[in-house]
């Protein structure tokens, strides 16, 4: 019995489990606005989002997978124990924040996990500064861009509204929101599934199962997208309520503006290879459209709780991963 191969298979399964949890935890955001505007029922919205999470496997590149796989820590120090610790750190933090209903970032939990395990394994020299800096900067840039784009789009739509009967306009935006929700789910699927792909690919590469050159096999791409789509189907309604209903009240045109601007921000980041939090980006978009009504329309208490969780995510998941690595390294 090849125990090393069994361990690799176990960690690949765990990574896909993380992807499933990511779908359960994060992908619910894909459906929050379209449910809160009552364009689709929760069941319809979840199926719609899961479908586009999977479709995102085709044609949107693997830049983010490359960043996660070889752009955060040096591949030379990666082994089964390090990836196992990184995943445990990210999963534990995801479960804690899900339990308390905070829409934090699974993506940054994974990056925190990698950093924490790498620090204990080989010290700070193996952290790739540029990759961590770009990712960290986009923790702030991504929701801010979602916010800015949503404000401009919502204001433009308000001007358009002035020339059309409100009932006609809302009818149009109810249909358009199907497209914006699909675009958001595509963005979510491609950016988030690629993080799991990167983890699996670097594990396979460093354990000699991928040949001489780092790449992402097609079976890894398809299984990562299938896992995140399954996670979305499984739901995550605590977070749906937080994102869609508790931050601000939404009309179909608002939902369209929030989703379209967030989708554009996520797809942009994906194309330049930056792993971003889809949760943070849609939160920025929702706050943006809420702010165009009046700032008091945004429930800032909820928004501030989310921001606190964002700040804690990388250090907390890094700490759990570091502890996990220290324990598994004893065996």
């Amino acid at each position: 019995m090849d125990w090393e191969l069994l361990l690799v298979i176990f960690i690949v399964a765990l990574a896909l489990g993380f992807d499933f949890i990511n779908g359960f935890h994060d992908a619910a955001n894909s459906v929050a606005t379209i449910v809160s505007t009552r364009v689709l029922t929760p069941t319809q919205a979840v199926i719609w989002a899961a479908f586009f999470n999977f479709v995102a496997a085709f044609g949107l590149g693997i830049h983010v997978a490359n960043t996660i796989g070889k752009g955060i820590i040096e591949t030379s120090i990666v082994d089964e124990k390090l990836i196992l610790a990184a995943l445990v750190g990210a999963i534990v933090w995801d479960i804690i924040t899900w339990r308390v209903g905070l829409p934090t970032s699974s993506s940054h939990a994974l990056i925190g996990g990698l950093i924490g395990a790498a620090l204990v394994s080989a010290g700070p020299d193996v952290i790739i500064k540029e990759g961590v800096e770009r990712t960290s900067a986009f923790i702030v840039i991504s929701p801010m861009v979602g916010f800015i784009a949503a404000v401009f789009l919502a204001l433009a739509l308000m001007r358009l509204y002035a020339r059309i009967a409100p009932s006609t306009a809302q009818g149009v935006f109810r249909r358009l929101q199907l497209l914006s929700a699909a675009a958001y789910s595509l963005g979510h699927g491609t950016n988030d599934a690629q993080k799991t792909m990167g983890i699996i690919a670097v594990l396979l590469f460093t354990t000699g199962h991928l040949g001489g050159e780092f790449h992402v096999p097609i079976w890894v791409i398809l299984s990562a997208h299938a896992a995140i789509a399954a996670g979305t189907l499984a739901g995550g309604w605590r977070i749906v309520r937080t994102m869609g209903l508790r931050i601000t009240k939404l009309e179909p045109s608002d939902g369209f503006a929030a989703e379209a601007s967030s989708a554009a921000a996520i797809l942009f980041a994906t194309q330049v290879g930056i792993p971003v939090s889809t949760t943070q980006t849609i939160a920025g978009g929702i706050i943006g459209v809420g702010s165009t009504k009046r700032l008091s329309a945004v429930r800032w208490g909820v928004a501030i709780n989310i921001v606190i969780a964002w700040v804690l995510t990388i250090p907390a998941s890094a700490a759990v991963a570091a502890l996990t690595f220290a324990i598994v390294d004893e065996f």
């Binding site: 801010m144 800015i148 784009a149 789009l153 433009a156 921000a265 702010s291």
Partner: protein, 45 residues
């Protein structure tokens, strides 16, 4: 309409990113805070 609004924003973002991470970071933060301030002025009248 959405394309007309979003395309220039993301084109500008790409140019800023090409100019450097510090540039895009600073510009986005300042723009976001300024926009928030202007919205506050407009929506509290």
């Amino acid at each position: 309409m959405a394309a007309l609004v979003l395309t220039p924003i993301f084109f500008a973002l790409k140019l800023l990113l090409d100019a450097g991470l510090g540039v895009v970071f600073g510009t986005v933060i300042v723009a976001g805070l300024l926009l928030g301030y202007l919205l506050r002025q407009e929506t509290t009248r």
